[in-house]
C-alpha cells in the first residue's frame, strides 16, 4: 500500500466477491440446471402415465404439473416426477412395482385433471391404454418353466381378457402341462397389477410402452 498507482479501486472484499463468489454462484446454478434438465429425453425410458394421458410429446406440454391427479388417487399410485425426469419434471407417473393403478371405476384422476392432459372423454376403465404388459423374462417366468404360478393371470383385473392361460405339453418332463400366461395387447389396459404381483424378485412381467399399429413394409 505505498502509492496510489497500485490502487485500482478494487477492495479485497470486492475482489474476493468477484473472483470467487460470482463464478461459484454461476457454477452452482449451471450445475443445478443441467443436472435437472439437460439430459436426453430417450435416456429416461418409459414413464407410465395416469389413465387417459394424451400422447407423450403433447402430454409434456399439456400437463401443468398441478398434482391434482396425484391428490385424487385413493391408492397414491400416482407420483410426481422430480428433477430426474428432465423435461418431464413435475409430471405425474405410476411406478407399478411400487403401487400399480387399481383402476377405480370412476377414474378420479381423469376427473381431477384441469388442463386436458388426461382426456375426459375416457370414462370406461376397460378403454384405458396406459401401456401394455409384456413378459420380459420368459426364462424367469415360473409358469413358462412348467410350475404352477399364474399369479399375474389370477390378479389381472381383466382376467381371461387381457391375460389368458394357454396350455401346452411340457416336453421337458414329457407328462405335464405348461400353463403359459399370454397377454393380449388389444385388451390390456397397462395398469401394472401383474408387474406388482409377480412373485419373482425382479418382475418377469412389466408394463411397457404401447406400440401403435405399424404399417408393414411387405405383405404377409
Amino acid at each position: 500500500m505505498d502509492s496510489d498507482t497500485t490502487n485500482t479501486g478494487i477492495s479485497r472484499r470486492l475482489f474476493l466477491k468477484g473472483s470467487i463468489l460470482t463464478p461459484l454462484t454461476l457454477a452452482l446454478g449451471g450445475a443445478a440446471i443441467s443436472a435437472v434438465y439437460l439430459r436426453p429425453t430417450q435416456a429416461r425410458g418409459f414413464y407410465l402415465r395416469p389413465p387417459g394421458a394424451i400422447e407423450e410429446p403433447r402430454f409434456l406440454a399439456a400437463c401443468v404439473k398441478c398434482g391434482k391427479c396425484a391428490q385424487a388417487c385413493p391408492y397414491q399410485s400416482i407420483v410426481m416426477a422430480g428433477g430426474e425426469a428432465g423435461v418431464g419434471i413435475g409430471t405425474p407417473h405410476i411406478i407399478p412395482r411400487e403401487t400399480p393403478c387399481y383402476l377405480c371405476p370412476d377414474l378420479p384422476c381423469v376427473k381431477a385433471c384441469p388442463s386436458g392432459a388426461l382426456d375426459k372423454q375416457l370414462t370406461e376403465v376397460e378403454k384405458v391404454r396406459m401401456g401394455t404388459a409384456v413378459i420380459i423374462d420368459r426364462e424367469g417366468c415360473l409358469s413358462i418353466r412348467g410350475l404352477r404360478c399364474e399369479v399375474c393371470y389370477r390378479q389381472c383385473p381383466l382376467i381371461d381378457k387381457a391375460i389368458t392361460i394357454e396350455n401346452r405339453h411340457n416336453t421337458r418332463t414329457g407328462e405335464h402341462t405348461i400353463m403359459e400366461p399370454v397377454i393380449h395387447k388389444d385388451k390390456c389396459v397397462g395398469c401394472g397389477i401383474c408387474e406388482k404381483v409377480c412373485v419373482r424378485e425382479k418382475p418377469v412381467i412389466a408394463v411397457q410402452q404401447r406400440v401403435t399399429e405399424q404399417k408393414d413394409f411387405y405383405e404377409f
Binding site: 440446471i33 403433447r58 400437463c63 401443468v64 404439473k65 398434482g67 410426481m80 413435475g90 388442463s115
Partner: protein, 272 residues
C-alpha cells in the same frame, strides 16, 4: 409510523398461501392442486400463463380450464395484477427474506431493468409455440416450491437455491423484478387495473424512504420526479410497503386511473 400495517397483512396472506398449499397433507379438503391449477372450496382456479402454455404446446383446449383461468385474470385485473407477486407467490416471500439478508451483507446492489420480464414472457410464448416445450412450467420456481411442499420433491429446489444465490450475491431481486415471465404477464394486467397507488405531491418531502422500501423502485420515479398523481401501475406489485414507510402519508390507495394534470409535468409548477 413504525407499525407496518400492510407489511403484517401481506406476510400473513403469504404464509396463508403456503398453509393452503400444504393443507391437503393435513387431510383438509378445502384446497387441491397448486398455483398452476387448483380447486379452492370447489372453485376451479388456473394460472392463465400455464393455460396458455398448455394450449399452445399441448394443443389441448378445455372450456372449464379457460373459464377458471379467466376467473383468475379477472381477479387480478381488479386487485392490481402483480398483487400476485407481492401477496400470493411463495417465491416472492422467499426472495424477500433473501433481500433482507442481502441488505445486511450489502452485496449485489446492481440489478437489471424491470421491463425485461416482458421479453422473458415473449420468449416463453415463442418457445412453446415453436417447439411445444412449456419453458416456464419446466423451470418455474413456483411449481418447484409447491411440489416440494406437497410431494416432497426436494432435488429441484436446487434451482430455487441458485436463484437465491444469484439474488444474494450478483443482482438484487433479479428473478422477481426482471426475469419471471409470470411477473411480466401480470404486469400487463396490472397496467389496466383500477387498484393503484396514488401520490399527493404536496405532502411529499422527498425523503426517499419509499424508494428504499420499494422492491420495484422504478415505479415511483414518475411520481417523485414528475409529480404523476399515481405510481406507474404496470410493474407496481401493490405490496404497500411505501404506504407503511411514508412519514407524511404522501402515498395512498387510489381507485381508478388518474391522468396527469398539465401542471404536474412541469417540475417548477409542481411544488417541488
Amino acid at each position: 409510523m413504525n407499525f407496518k400495517r400492510w407489511g403484517i397483512a401481506r406476510c400473513t396472506v403469504q404464509l396463508l398461501m403456503i398453509a393452503l398449499l400444504a393443507s391437503p397433507l393435513a387431510g383438509l379438503a378445502i384446497f387441491r392442486g397448486n398455483l398452476a391449477a387448483a380447486e379452492l372450496l370447489g372453485l376451479p382456479l388456473a394460472d392463465p400463463l400455464a393455460f396458455l402454455q398448455a394450449l399452445l404446446g399441448g394443443r389441448v383446449f378445455v372450456l372449464s380450464y379457460l373459464l377458471s383461468a379467466m376467473l383468475v385474470v379477472g381477479f387480478y385485473v381488479l386487485l392490481g395484477g402483480r398483487t400476485f407477486c407481492g401477496w400470493v407467490c411463495p417465491v416472492g416471500l422467499i426472495t424477500e427474506l433473501a433481500d433482507r439478508l442481502r441488505k445486511r451483507l450489502g452485496t449485489g446492489t446492481q440489478t437489471l431493468p424491470l421491463t425485461l420480464n416482458r421479453w422473458s414472457l415473449a420468449l416463453v410464448l415463442l418457445v412453446v409455440m415453436v417447439t411445444g416445450v412449456p419453458l416456464f412450467e419446466l423451470f418455474s420456481p413456483i411449481g418447484i416450491i409447491s411440489r416440494a411442499i406437497v410431494f416432497a420433491a426436494l432435488v429441484p429446489l436446487l434451482l430455487v437455491a441458485a436463484i437465491l444465490l444469484v439474488e444474494l450475491l450478483v443482482a438484487r431481486r433479479v428473478w422477481c423484478r426482471s426475469l419471471c415471465p409470470l411477473g411480466g404477464f401480470y404486469s400487463l394486467l396490472a397496467a389496466a387495473s383500477p387498484l393503484r397507488i396514488g401520490f399527493i405531491s404536496e405532502r411529499c418531502t422527498h425523503c426517499n424512504d419509499c424508494l428504499k422500501a420499494c422492491p420495484v423502485e422504478e415505479v415511483l420515479y414518475p411520481s417523485l420526479e414528475l409529480n404523476h398523481p399515481q405510481v406507474a401501475a404496470g410493474d407496481c406489485i401493490r405490496c404497500m410497503a411505501c404506504l407503511d414507510t411514508c412519514p407524511t402519508k404522501a402515498l395512498k390507495i387510489s381507485i381508478g386511473y388518474q391522468p396527469l394534470s398539465r401542471d404536474a409535468t412541469d417540475p417548477l409548477k409542481g411544488g417541488r
